[in-house]
Amino acid sequence: MNLAYYPGCSLKGTGKAYEKSTLAVFSALGLELQEIPDWNCCGATAYMAVDALASKALSFRNLVLAQKMEAKWVVAPCSACYLNLFKARKEYLDNKPTREKLCRTLKKTGWEYECSGLPEVLHPLHVLTELVGLEKIREKIRRPLKGLRVVPYYGCQLVRPYDGYDDPVHPVKMDLLLEVTGAEVISDYPLKTRCCGASVAGVLEEPGLNLNGALIKEAKRRGGELIATVCPLCQFNLETYQRKTENAGRMPILYFTQVLGLALGLEGKALGMEHLLYRPRLEV
């Protein structure tokens, strides 16, 4: 498989554990992720709020770099990065004026690039459930997580607004993947795709406490003992806001790749468990 890896800024900083666990799980499944050399920031949600075309241009440059690696797919674990790359590619394919503007400008500023295709954009969850397949993963489970009650939390930008692989409000792909680990998956968690507040929660405390408090409270009420996330911003908000919520807190917030990694028999260190504020009771 020809997979280019786009880490984005978070996976090199606050989301370190996500990078470690994604790379470890992929390698355990025999998949190689090749980091895009000299990738730039995707612009998150901020760039779109300042300059729409420049926001596309940032992701376009990353996709061109991946294309030069002859990658067939670009894998982006952060939901915001994933959506930005996905949108830029979609716009490039569907909107001729935008495509021409991007291509012409790129060449004019000293780049060698023939405006051909661009690699497809996937989230690691898509690679695992669509390209690898659950059956193949099931064969590699070394340590079934029997009795572990996991709440799957998807947040927003992975499933919305584009739902090519799943439902935008009631997705199930991560539920299915987590079931393969032998864990007990709390699939009827109704807040699966309710927003954590993203960067708004990052700078405004009251909405942050409220939104994340509700997510944690409901996860507990349903009997969950840990939450599995697909995005570094969700993981950070869910974890941090527990420090300020009285009596509600202390629920481990893991990346779904960490949960899968445990079931594959990987060591806690390889999965970046030391970067978690609250550790799960099951670790190698």
Binding site: G13, M48, A49, A54, L58, K101, L102, W111, R160, L204
Partner: protein, 192 residues
Amino acid sequence: MEIKRTIAYEGELDKSLLTRLSALPEGNLIRRCIQCGTCSGVCPLSIYMDSSPRKLIALIREGFGKEVLSSFTIWLCSSCYSCTVSCPQEIPITEIMYALKRMALEEKTYPRRFPVPVLAREFYRMVFKEGRNTEALLVLRLLAKTNILKTFSYLPMGLNLMLTRRLSLKKEKISRPSQLRKFLEAIKEVGK
């Protein structure tokens, strides 16, 4: 209490924002809004907004552009796309929020020292300059430019990052930021 007139006279209404939005493919679609309120119902942040997403659309259509562009609403939108996927009229509300944010930043009508627009601007500048964002530096700049400490204690965040060894002050950048800057500047020109 300050006594102020709470309604506007028809002669004071100004539909220029509607005209400008209508020039954008996403903006033109607000004409289809049936004011059902589904967007406001599903929006996780509408409980904090000065006008709900539905009301914001009504304000734009009726000529309250100034109120819209200086509202907190557009900055409270976290871009979660719940409204967009639920709207029965298929109006891309999230994209419209983005368009309004761009106008408010350009015209400097956003609420002063409110951390969300300041964050967007600082983030933009950092990525434009270095090609990447250094999380810790971004927070420091935000602190310098807002009165965020009054309403927010950054202690839990910093503590979390320190306890779990995720706080890095190393400046992140790409190998030749000047080349990216050149590209982005040229894009700005063609985007006009």
